[in-house]
């Protein structure tokens, strides 16, 4: 099936554009009452080619819902997701195959994001079997080796299962699984949050290297302002399913009040998560 996706002109800095995206669903209670829930309201943002956009906000503000919408694991109620001159929400499921090769989501909990019954080799090769079924066995193997090298994944782990690897190793597997099908956009949903500091910095550096080499675009969802400052070019703040503010990450200086508008809007929220955000010191400290 030929998709309607058009090649994105190199001159166009915007690789993916989200326009007025809203997500509403009904939550069932014990007594079968359907309570309407609004996860996203009129969210608009642009992902710049080869850049990283950090999406920050307290728990339950809609960051993960947005991520799931972008990879079409959730169907938004209204709005547009424009990629390669096409609104993805208008494409049929068969036409989405190519999009799924280009935009990948990496989850926070790598342990539950990998099939426990499959070996790492099977996990890594599966996207290739789906997206490039005609690829010769030898070429498939070369792509596997290349993805492993890019994600600093040792070949001796290939015969193991996810439960036999550490959190950092599993996250490298998740990254390698994405890299093997040569994506354009990676959505990292708290992908570094569950890792210890040393592994966090290793993976963060790996992501920076990959971005430099392959012009990857990242949507980096995080609570950690230090990581946002280290990895992102721009920052978007979300609260209650809406975008509150956006600013360049360079404004996240040791003096957190450098951007009074954003910080002011964050500080109006009284939940502990927001307070924690403010308390996290900058990397320069």
């Amino acid at each position: 099936m030929q998709t309607k996706l058009q090649p994105i002109p190199a001159a166009n800095p915007v690789i993916l554009s989200v326009r007025n995206l809203s997500l509403h669903y009904f939550q069932k209670t014990v007594f079968e009452r359907r309570i309407p829930v609004t996860a996203l309201t009129n969210v608009s943002l642009d992902l710049q080619r080869g850049k990283t956009l950090a999406l920050v906000g307290s728990s339950g503000c809609g960051k993960s819902s947005l991520a799931r919408c972008l990879v079409l694991l959730e169907r938004p109620s209204f709005g547009e997701i424009v990629y390669a001159a096409q609104n993805l929400l208008e494409l049929k499921s068969k036409e989405l195959k190519e999009v799924r090769r280009d935009i990948h989501l990496i989850f926070q909990d790598s342990a539950s994001a990998l099939n426990p019954g499959m070996t790492i080799e099977e996990v890594l090769l599966e996207p290739l079997e789906i997206h490039e079924p005609t690829l010769a066995k030898k070429d498939r193997f070369l792509r596997l080796v290349s993805a492993c090298e890019q994600a600093a994944l040792s070949s001796k782990w290939l015969t193991r299962r996810p439960s036999e690897l550490s959190g950092g190793q599993r996250q490298r597997v998740a990254i390698a699984r994405s890299l093997i099908s040569r994506p354009k956009i990676l959505i990292l949903d708290e992908a570094l949050s569950a890792l210890d500091l040393s592994t966090q910095s290793q993976i963060a550096n790996l992501l920076l290297d990959l971005q430099r080499e392959h012009s990857l675009t990242y949507l980096f969802i995080t609570h950690d302002m230090r990581l946002a400052r280290m990895l992102a070019h721009d920052v978007v703040v979300m609260k209650g399913g809406r975008i509150l503010d956006s600013f360049p990450s360079s404004l996240l200086t040791p003096d957190i009040h450098a951007n009074p508008a954003s910080i002011g809007s964050i500080s109006t929220a009284k939940d502990t998560e927001t307070i924690r955000l403010q308390e996290i010191p900058s990397v320069n400290e």
């Binding site: 069932k28 799931r68 990879v71 694991l73 989405l96 195959k97 799924r100 090769r101 990948h104 989501l105 989850f107 909990d109 539950s112 994001a113 990998l114 099939n115 426990p116 019954g117 070996t119 599966e126 996207p127 789906i130 997206h131 299962r161 439960s163 036999e164 998740a174 699984r177 994405s178 099908s181």
Partner: protein
């Protein structure tokens, strides 16, 4: 190999425990086979005492148990006072019929339960799920006896199926193919009754196991990578859900034997059921003990089969054991 030996040893101990419990409980139960004889005015008390001594019924319990264990090694499994023959051959003849019935019932129940549970899980909350749940609730709430009686009524009213036994009177004159067809017609009602008894529990387990897996993040991750829906189901969801279902399969193999007794009695299937009922009423304890042991062996065999299947299907178990 060490694991297998340990498991077999453990199961053997379990069988010894089951036989001991059955022996003690049956001995503690009031009445004995000879009580009916004592009430018969044509049989003198001296004859009854002589018979009790002849069959060792007046010996202490440990001695009777030891003699019974000894008889197992001869293949006798005790002596039936009602049938005047060793229990082993008697029970095995009936147990074969029960095994035939339960094998087909297990297969039918699983063949229905798997697609039923999977379909309900895939369309959770939709009309397929709701209708399926309603039918399963109805089946679950219906007593097993009622299923058998309704099927018996169907057979009697329509004449489509025989109402009892496992072969027609003229079976000896039939060709091989016709004999198989005759057996299939006799098997149909008991198999359906038995399968309907276990279907709701199996289908509900399959549904819940599949829902648990279909909601798993690794499935969302795989879907996000563009893995097609059908492949997600058979390559990702089913193998993971299979673990709990295999354990249930082992249990269903063993437990169906005890459920079948009632169906066999009502639908006159010449299996262990009618034999056990007669033996219990006549207090023919060695027949009851042998039937109980057979049931326990089937339960253990079912669980061992499940262990073996898990070993074959789940590489994590293999890696832990190696």
């Amino acid at each position: 190999m060490k694991q297998l030996a340990w498991r077999l040893g453990h199961r053997l101990l379990l069988l010894v425990g089951v036989s001991l419990c059955t022996f003690v409980l049956l001995s503690a139960a009031p009445g004995s086979f000879f009580d009916d004889l004592k009430l018969n005015p044509q049989v003198s008390p001296a004859t009854v005492t002589k018979l009790q001594a002849q069959y060792g019924a007046n010996r202490p319990l440990p001695e009777r148990y030891a003699r019974w264990v000894e008889s197992i090694f001869r293949g006798d499994w005790g002596y039936s006072l009602s049938y005047h023959r060793p229990v082993g051959g008697l029970v095995w003849q009936r147990a074969r019929n029960t095994l035939l019935l339960t094998t087909f019932a297990v297969l039918l129940a699983w063949m229905l339960a798997l697609p039923w549970g999977i379909a309900e899980a895939l369309y959770k909350g939709g009309w397929i799920d709701r209708t399926g749940e309603m039918i399963l609730a109805l089946l679950l709430a219906t007593p097993d006896v009622l299923f058998a009686l309704l099927l018996l009524l169907l057979a009697a009213r329509t004449g489509w199926f025989p109402t009892g036994g496992m072969s027609s009177s003229e079976v000896a004159d039939l060709s091989f193919g016709s004999r198989i067809w005759d057996l299939a017609r006799h098997l149909f009602l008991p198999v359906v009754a038995l399968a309907l008894t276990t279907l709701p529990i199996l289908a509900l387990h399959v549904r819940s196991a599949m829902i648990g897996v279909l909601d798993a993040p690794f499935l969302s991750a795989a879907k996000g990578h563009g893995i097609p829906k059908f492949r997600l189901l058979y390559r990702h969801a089913l193998p993971v859900a299979l673990n709990s279902l295999i354990s249930l399969f082992g249990f269903s193999v063993g437990s169906l034997l005890s459920i079948s007794l009632l169906v066999e009695v009502i639908l006159s299937w010449p299996g262990l059921g009618p034999l056990v009922v007669e033996a219990v009423l006549a207090r023919d304890i060695y027949v009851v003990v042998a039937a109980t042991m057979f049931s326990a062996v089937c339960l253990i065999a079912g669980n061992l089969l499940a262990d073996f299947l898990l070993y074959c299907t789940d590489p994590r178990i293999r890696s832990v054991q190696s």
